[in-house]
Amino acid sequence: MSLMDKLLDLDQRIIYAMLFIALAFPILHPIVLPMDIQAYSQESFDFADSIPDGSVVLIEGGLTAATYPQGGPGLEVQIVHMLRKDVKLVFFSIGTETAAWTVTAINNALARLPAGVAAENGVNWVHMGYVPGGESGTAAFANDIRSVKSEDHFGTPIDQIPLMNDINMASDFAAVFWWGGSEGSIPYGVRQIVTPFGVPMTGMCTTNEVPNYSPYINSGQLHGIIGGVRGSAEYEYLMSMPGLALGQAMATNFGGLLWAFLVVLGNVLYFIARREGGNK
């Protein structure tokens, strides 16, 4: 077997090791490069910023352990953003794990809140917790919250929560923020809340899902979207609250460059091998 063939059939474990090094290195030795704001992030931020003070907003927390490092910093900053505008927040999640991570986001955000901003559980925000049933569950929740939830995430009966007094369906909200992470659940919100109730919505998804939702953005069903860690980093930047997302955005540089290098290398070798094969 020639060197060329060996390189073309490179043992996959060598590639894995290279990738580990490329991604771990920038974390241990951070390097910050300049960046510009993407249009979708700006649109989403402007939409959130335009929500009238004092209104009530519905937030789906769909981040998991895997997606929290990307979306979490953005969600935390958004909670701070909203509470500073005196916007009331109603959270819910369509997964059990994501419901727990939503609590983490709320706690982290409250810790970062400037002094003097009201953030009382039950008055300024409430977490309705896990709503099972995926899209059917979302539909049921949007039609009649009390039909699926009798208590919030922490076990407080819904009738004892002041914020929930006048709220029982999707049309009671001024907007929806759908932090879908990688759930692929943004269409649930579009189909079960935006289409039937006409409530405007924006959201967050992982970078890979952005193109799937661009049709919804073009048709006006979604007001921009926060895409992955870079979207979060941009929200942090727009709020002037730099955090974890900005650092990670830089580490993707190295992984991306390695990937591009490998693809180019694979093709160059492939063409050389094909030419040699053709000469034989």
Binding site: G134, S136, G137, S182, G184, N208
Partner: protein, 259 residues
């Protein structure tokens, strides 16, 4: 009170026209007029993959990834995957190929085990079937390690990736490719179809996944329904082209469509 909910009139018309034409073609097939369909390569690939597994004496995996029975957008591809499973399991029983169907959701698990059980019964090979080893429930998430580990230790030779595929698409297909399996992949999820198309030997895109179940059916009325679906595509093309021409000359029909 309006008879039809506002904003959904055209939706209802579209639904009635499309389902109507599907039923029409099925009726026509019932009286013997069967539309001529383009050959779908995947139909032959199933036998090819299973045959290869028999030859090498190694198992074939039938993977469906996310099989939620309560989320409509996942349920549809899941039902389609079950239809193909019914055929594939039967061919596996017929050819004598080892077969493995891990399922990550309880309800879907009960269905899959019944489908496979019936397939083996149909071929009179119940005694060759160890149902609890062939169809296995694995908690969603934990199936990733189980399947990767077993792909290597079983040295599986064939794999089907059909259903609603999410991030596991690239994990399983790349491992299967490295193990040396022959693969058929197909899904309707837009974000993971690229991996199935790029990595698998044969792939089904979007609607083809739904069509394959109909192709495999021996009931001619079922495959005839595909001709009805084609009417929908003609309608879509017509509406888009006509609408765009009209809007260019100043007539907006968008309001009509969202009536």
């Amino acid at each position: 009170m309006a008879i039809i909910v506002e904003g959904r009139i055209f939706g209802l018309i579209a639904l009635l026209v499309i389902t109507g034409s599907i039923v029409y073609y099925m009726q026509k097939a019932y009286s013997g007029k069967i539309p001529k369909l383009r050959r779908l390569q995947a139909v032959d690939v199933i036998d090819e993959i299973l045959g290869r597994c028999v030859e090498m004496g190694r198992p074939a995996y039938y993977l469906m990834d996310t099989v939620s029975m309560d989320t409509p957008s996942i349920l549809a591809p899941t039902v389609a995957a079950f239809q193909i499973l019914a055929y594939t399991a039967r061919r596996a029983a017929h050819l004598g190929s080892k077969f493995f169907v891990p399922v990550t959701q309880g309800l879907a698990y009960t269905i899959a085990s019944e489908v496979v059980d019936e397939a083996y019964k149909a071929e009179n090979k119940q005694d060759e079937l160890k149902l609890e080893e062939t169809v296995m429930y694995l908690p969603d998430g934990a199936d990733r390690m189980y399947i990767i580990n077993h792909m290597w230790s079983d040295e599986m030779a064939g794999a089907f990736f059909l259903g609603s595929w999410y991030h596991k698409a690239v994990i399983f297909t790349e491992n299967a490719a490295r193990v040396g399996a022959m693969m058929l992949g197909g899904t309707d999820t837009t974000h993971n179809i690229p991996f199935l198309v790029a990595i698998c030997d044969y792939s089904l895109i979007g609607e083809e996944l739904y069509a394959l179940g109909a192709y495999l059916s021996e009931d001619p009325t079922v495959s005839a329904s595909l001709a009805g679906q084609d009417i929908g595509k003609y309608i879509a093309a017509l509406l888009i082209i006509l609408g765009s021409i009209l809007i260019t000359i100043g007539m907006d029909i968008k309001g009509l469509l969202s009536m």
